[in-house]
């Protein structure tokens, strides 16, 4: 029981950190891509839209090659640490957050910017207003990102190694139970996992849309 709680908490922490990291660059990026509609931004958006579907194992493997002791960033000794999973997941969900946020911001962009300029706002004030008005959308995109991060297996397995008490998260724990042949235990863990995710999602949405 104790181990289960720590696995759940670790999952939330690792993926929470991943989401925070991803938000750092994804939110400004989405805003820029929404506001400045140039040919470049459209191409970039297309790329992000398609990268949403990158297989997690492929990303995990690429990062493994980079973080491996024989890879270019091997000296950081990040492989098989929770931070490595966070970084991997942050990169994984970046296209998703950018894509979702940018799409939803585009829908309210015209109205908000027009009103803001009519009220005499400078451009930076207007963009800030866009972000402020879009706060529920922002929360929703970040939440989608978080859910993708916490539910993925490939990156956590490749970069974390599923080390007990250290890098074992919900998804890798479930995968291990399957390998062990304990299908029932795997399903139980899956049920716990889904309950946790649903509760978290409802909570965060309630906060974000109050």
């Amino acid at each position: 029981m104790n181990e289960l709680v720590s696995i759940v908490l670790r999952s939330i922490t690792v993926s929470g950190l991943a989401t925070l990291l991803a938000s750092l660059w994804s939110i400004p990026l989405a805003l820029v891509l929404t506001v400045f509609k140039t040919r470049l931004s459209r191409v970039l958006l297309d790329i992000f839209n398609s990268l949403v579907s990158i297989p997690t194992v492929v990303l995990g493997l690429c990062l493994y090659m980079i973080l491996s002791r024989s890879g270019p960033l091997g000296f950081l000794e990040l492989l098989y640490t929770p931070l490595a999973i966070s970084i991997g997941q942050a990169l994984l969900i970046t296209p998703l957050i950018v894509s979702v946020l940018s799409n939803s911001l585009s829908r309210i962009k015209e109205n908000v910017l027009e009103t803001a300029f009519a009220l005499g706002a400078t451009s930076s004030q207007a963009y800030f207003a866009l972000l402020h008005e879009g706060l529920p959308l922002l929360v929703r995109s970040i939440l989608i990102g978080f859910n993708r991060a916490i539910g993925e297996l490939g990156v956590a397995l490749m970069l974390g190694g599923n080390i007990r008490g250290y890098t074992r998260v919900m998804t890798t724990a479930i995968a291990l139970e399957v390998v062990k042949g304990n299908f029932e235990q795997a399903l139980n863990l899956g049920a716990v996992f889904i309950v946790v995710i649903v509760l978290l999602t409802i909570m965060i949405r309630a906060i974000g849309e109050k």
């Binding site: 929470g16 950190l17 024989s70 890879g71 931070l83 190694g161 007990r164 390998v179 062990k180 109050k210």
Partner: protein
């Protein structure tokens, strides 16, 4: 405004937990962390965790981090420099990596057997046959549409052994309709074999552990040298933790560890999942290893 406070609270909580995680990371790094890339069968049975616990009673300053993957991947990860110790059971793969200079200091520390399992009515009539002959019969029955075979297909120790047996039988089942390559772990492969009433090769440990759920299957052939499953530990060249890794290998050979291996699983399954090396002359095991290392599968 309470919204902002709540959002802030959420961020603070994640930040605190993350700090704790880092604290633990540095705490761990003050101890010596030995990364052990190991074959799944050793880990999934729980044996390694039991061994590590015993080991740490004496060496509390060493942390063993197990990364459980197939034998092929375990050796590959060692080659990339991402493991200090390897525990594997695929002699002919091991030999390749010994020759490449990736791993050294082989220490055989346990063994058990592979078994050919299949449907209870045994449509290919292989019960009691030697493995090579059994595979020939399965091939024939498969061609006639009477039998199926599920292969791991993942270059794991078990898969490589299966390929060696096919090779010895002079047959190539790849691409045949009755030859299913699952690409999954042992337990999933057994599950598929059970569903499809097919034959497959399994290590005895995983089969016993999982037997209750495999109502359609039973052990049909075992005990031959070619089904000998030898687990070896290796040090990895270039590792900075050679001293600590050697300590664990020494421990694996110790009577304390060997006793644990001999008794592991007896309570739950009636017979041990692994056998200690003391139960066979070491020269016998070494010879069997050499024989298997020569086995070609390509």
């Amino acid at each position: 405004m309470s919204r902002k406070i709540l959002v802030l609270a959420a961020v603070v909580i994640v930040a605190i937990l993350a700090t704790y995680m880092f604290y633990k990371y540095f705490y761990l790094s003050r101890k010596t962390v030995v990364i052990v890339s190991t074959t799944t069968s050793l880990y999934a049975t729980g044996l390694l965790d039991a061994l590590a616990e015993k080991f740490q009673e004496k060496h509390s300053n060493i942390v063993l981090n197990f990364v459980a993957v197939g034998s092929g991947e375990a050796l590959k990860r060692a080659e990339k420099g991402d493991a200090d110790l390897v525990l594997v059971h695929a002699p002919n793969l091991e030999k390749k990596y010994i020759e490449k200079g990736v791993i050294f200091n082989r220490t055989i520390f346990a063994y058990n057997f592979f078994v050919i399992v299949g449907p209870k009515d045994d449509p290919a009539h292989i019960a009691g046959l030697d493995p090579v002959e059994a595979f020939k019969r399965i091939f024939e029955a498969g061609e006639k549409g009477k039998a199926l075979f599920v292969s791991r297909g993942d270059l794991s120790g078990t898969h490589v052994r299966e390929l060696i047996i096919w090779k010895k039988a002079g047959l190539d089942p790849h691409g045949r309709k009755w030859y299913i390559e699952s690409g999954t772990g042992m337990s999933e492969t057994l599950m598929i074999a059970n569903e499809k009433k097919a034959y497959t090769l399994s290590d005895i440990g995983t089969f016993l552990k999982f037997q209750k759920q495999l109502k359609e299957l039973k052990i049909l052939a075992s005990g031959d040298t070619i089904l000998f499953n030898i687990y070896s530990a290796y040090l990895v060249k270039g590792s900075s933790k050679l001293k600590e890794a050697s300590l664990f290998i020494e421990f694996l050979k110790s009577s304390k560890a060997q006793k644990l291996i001999a008794n592991y699983g007896v309570k739950d399954y009636g017979i041990p999942l692994f056998y200690p090396i003391s139960s066979k002359p070491l020269s016998y095991l070494e010879k069997a290893w050499e024989l298997l290392a020569e086995g070609s599968y390509e």
